[in-house]
Amino acid sequence: MMAHLPATAMYFLVSFLPLILLLLWSARRIRTAAEFYAVGHEYSGFRNGLAISGDYLSAASFLGISGLIVTSGYAGMLYAVGFFAGWPLILILLADKLRSIGRYTLADVLNDRFSNRSIVLLGTFGYFPVVVIYLAAQFVAMAYLLQYLFDYSYQSSLFVLAVLALVTAVTGHMIFSSRAQMIKAVLIFSVTLLVTALAYFSAEHDWPALFTVTQVTASQASHSAEMSLAGHFYLTGGESALALLSLGIALILGPVGLPHIMSRFFSVSDERRARMSVFYATGVIGLFYILIIVLGFLIIARLPDMPPQASVEGANLAAVYLAALVGGDLVAGVFAAVLMTVLLSVMTSLILTGSSALSHDWYALTLGKARNYRQEQRLHRFASTVSVTTAIVIASLSEGQNVAYMVGLAFSFAASVNVPLLLGALYWERLTARGALIGGWCGLIAVVAAVLAGPMVLVDWFGFEQAIFPWRNPALFSISIAVVAMWYFSVTDQTSEEESTDDEYSD
């Protein structure tokens, strides 16, 4: 494998530069939220749907899920089904509703419903860990790609990425457009299809035998002993049923609370096109996750002997090893270039979306100051720098973590704070400002405490033998606390009679 690296790296560079230039050419520099929402107004439902897919199809979850199927067998499939399952819910519960009330972000909804700055501030705080952990997952995936291509150490790769991300944070406006996202969706879908087809047709496969228990068990047995961090759970034994339920709940609810997903529903001119956009996006995303499942089992069939370094990589590069096997240096180089382009693109949009949550929502709504572009930009840069620095520290500590697991963890934060606040504000007439505020904070504190006392931090980061909180994904625990607190502090709120409830929120 090592002998092929220079050629793969060369093909990577030759493909990566034009891809980045293509994305930069296709994108527009966007300075304001108004410009952002205006970008896609001329697009059809299909084109906007492709753009939405580009927002969501993350190379990190692709690399992570295919690796998890190799090391954790069928359990890895839960990520593929769960990452997809949130989509129809977003369409039915959010897209129409938010369009009909004319509010585009969580902060807008909370501000409109409660006119309470503390709640808007809570919504902003809720975004921060989601963005930071999601960003850290991109860094982990990119660091492993750089390590594979150029033989850098993991920590040196992270250093290079940190410099790049900080430059983006300090200088970048949102290089972001529907056209760039469409190109991203087409690129990642095409290379995934290519590698899957090459892997399937380059050898004889008995289709039903591909998914057999015998094959998967053999793969788990060969990898789980050495891949201690990647093999988080197994379908038969290992993680408890409740822990799997908790993970599954985070996976379906998480996308509903992601800050960078919802906004594109509003970048087409009418509701019909918005719905059609989500319909097309659901089709593309569903097909993509089915492909990942097939790819994961093809990796097991074609690569029974994974390279030795895979044991400390959280199996994140399993798909890249497969690409090298079935397509040689050229396909591996192009595949890595597309993945890196998509990861970088997600990284920049996360940095800028996350920081705009702080600069726009907090500054403009919470502080109630008149909009001042320069001051907002300064706060924007500060927030970007803090997000990047925190994400790099987390990525540095998370060497060996599977990136799909990290994305799932980001989803558990979104599901514990943003989702109860958003759905409560939109659908529960009796939710009061007091209930929303206390419930939201309870959810946030519960999820932070459970993660800090959980296996990732205590066992993986700090080497303790056992964690205080047993589940790797605490969503079920923290969502329950948030919802119960919201309910209790709303129904016992004596001031609730005085609060007005807009007719639009009664659906």
Binding site: Y74, M77, A85, P88, F211, V213, T236, G248, R275
Partner: protein, 106 residues
């Protein structure tokens, strides 16, 4: 909002058809959300609590475990439900809403 527009909007809000339609849309959304969430939760509960059953081969001639077709079916079913929702909203409810809006002059 200009005064004329505001008056028309108020007229829309008190239109009996409008309230009834909003209630029907609300009920429809709830039904579809329940179907989508219920179908995933059923998969999740089986996945967490009945792993051995899901690993049973589809048939004696086909060793693929039931989990594979069930997972793919769950994804396809959700896509189908999304399609039905979009079609119904875009053709049935939107048309009715437009008719009511025309009725009040909006």
């Amino acid at each position: 909002m200009p005064t004329d527009q505001r008056n028309l909007h108020l007229k829309l809000l008190v239109h009996p058809g409008y309230t009834a339609l909003r209630l029907r849309i609300r009920a429809y959304r709830r039904r579809m959300a329940t179907v989508v969430a219920g179908c995933y939760l059923l998969f999740l509960v089986c996945f967490s609590l009945l792993p051995e059953a899901l690993l049973t081969p589809v048939s004696t001639s086909n060793p693929t475990p039931w989990l594979i077709p069930i997972a793919v079916f769950t994804i396809l079913l959700q896509f189908l439900v999304t399609g039905i929702y979009v079609k119904t909203m875009n053709t049935v409810y939107d048309e009715e809403m437009q008719a009511i809006r025309r009725d009040v002059g909006l």
